[in-house]
Amino acid sequence: MEAAESEARLERAPAAERRRIPLVEPLIFVLSIASALALWELVSRTGLIAERDLPAMSTTVEKLWSLAKTEDFWGAVGHTVRGWAVGLGLATALAVPIGIALGSSDFLASALRVPIEFLRPIPSAALIPLLFLTLGTNVKSEIFLATFGAFWPLLIQTMYGVRDVDPVAVDTARSFGVPRFERLYRITLPSAVPYIATGMRISSSVSLILAFTAELFMGLPGLGQKVGFTELNGLYEELYAYALAVGLLGLAIHLLSTAAERRALRWHPSQRLGTT
């Protein structure tokens, strides 16, 4: 009864906030971005940072706009997006089941602790010379790198999440004779979901980073290749335009995963507390 009351109160609070200030949220959003862009323009135009080093915001955006009219640009974006998507998908399919297994079995976690802790921090960039020689300069190397990088944060987050499950809930279920699979599905997994969702968010950006890194370091078609090319030729305006494009792509992917996270976590306090 008490719990139901506090739930209802929490449900009501955000609605009241929303009614009181319907336009404030988008307004601050726009103001916040506008002021940052204006600051960029000012810093460059006033020469606080030389315009040669930091092209003005308007110059960069104009450059990006003219690039966006070319097929070449969208081809590069498509290559990078494909590397990200395949990398993240493969990493999730591998990391979540393995993370649950390692998180719920002390024995397995101990057995694989040293290899995992040794492989995890190896920067994927360090594997690029090997990939040159083994998989070759093609999309296979890009996908391998993206998967390898995205796998570890997701694995660690899943393990932390499974370990952080409330022991009272598990023991209660166990003493009520709830079968192992049911316990996993109804208690362990839901309580690990916030961690997994955060892991997905991190891995999603790691996957993009490594798809991009492979393109930059190995000269594979995509936005990375463009950044490398413009930097090498001293085309700083285009370099900034492509960097901005990479940032916007990253942001779009991030917003997508945040929206998915929010949908999956409507019931969790961290999502409800946000509006109080």
Binding site: R120, L208, I209
Partner: protein, 261 residues
């Protein structure tokens, strides 16, 4: 199985599994004779010659210094910014668009830009680059952790008029601590990765530099020695971090364990 036998088996597995993998590597490489995959023995010999300790001061020390400074700055900034942002809806409205943009930019895209802007390929640029990207795991986890603090506890503290500073120090921070630790752990391995990226791109010293040079000259043994060193570095840093975490979060584990018993 008795608890004691289980513990022994666990420690045994922790020792034997890595040894089995290493033995497998040695057997396979000796059998295959590939020039890209030297035997374990060759790598270890190279490792000893390079890192113990003839090139340690020249290449390992600068890398460690960059990781340490970059990670340290990132943790302080991440927590210091994360608490107010996590607590205040207004701060989130103002800052989240920027946090979400900058954390989404792939670090290598900023390598040329960081050099252009800072006019440096020395520690100034390296540490700035590392700490810039290491802030985000700590910052995001601090924000999430602060927001995930039990609303009933926060409301209770508030209705008892516990001052804000006290509330943050005694309630919000402890509640967020496990998640901050998880973020710091991600951040620490990110520091090693960004260190290698930054040193790979343009430098005259450091482990990433050695990796690049040996790759460019197709010297497989030094390249593998550098990869092993980077893995070992990350592993040791992580062990140190876990030891510190276990000490600092002992109250958390103890509490969980007591609930479970």
């Amino acid at each position: 199985m008795t608890p004691r036998a289980y513990r022994v088996a666990k420690v045994g597995a922790e020792v034997t599994v890595p040894l089995a993998i290493l033995a497998g590597w040695q057997l396979w490489t000796a059998h295959a004779g590939s020039q890209y995959f030297p035997t374990l023995w060759t790598i270890l010999k190279e490792f000893r010659e390079m890192w113990l300790f003839s090139q340690f001061g020249e290449h390992v020390v600068p890398s460690l210094e960059r990781i340490g400074l970059g990670f340290g700055i990132a943790v302080v900034v991440g927590i210091a910014l994360g608490i107010p942002i996590g607590l205040s809806r207004w701060a989130r409205l103002w800052t989240m668009p920027h946090i979400e943009f900058w954390r989404a930019v792939p670090p290598p895209a900023l390598l040329p830009i960081s050099i252009i802007l800072l006019h440096s390929i020395e520690n100034r640029q390296k540490v700035a680059f590392i700490s810039f990207f290491c802030v985000f795991p700590v910052l995001l986890n601090t924000i999430d952790g602060v927001r995930g603090a039990d609303p009933t506890l926060v409301d209770t503290a508030r209705s008892f008029r516990i001052p804000r500073r006290e509330r943050i120090w005694r309630l919000v921070l402890p509640a967020a601590a496990p998640q901050i630790a998880a973020g710091m752990r991600n951040s620490l391995s990110l520091a090693v990765i960004t260190m290698v990226l930054a040193e790979w791109w343009s430098s005259t010293r450091g482990v990433g530099y050695v990796l690049l040079i040996s790759k460019n000259t197709f010297q497989m043994a030094p390249m593998w020695a550098a990869i092993v060193l980077i893995g070992l570095l990350g592993y040791l840093l992580n062990v140190l971090f876990l030891l510190a975490e276990r000490r600092l979060l002992a109250w958390h584990r103890g509490w969980r364990a007591a609930e479970g018993a």
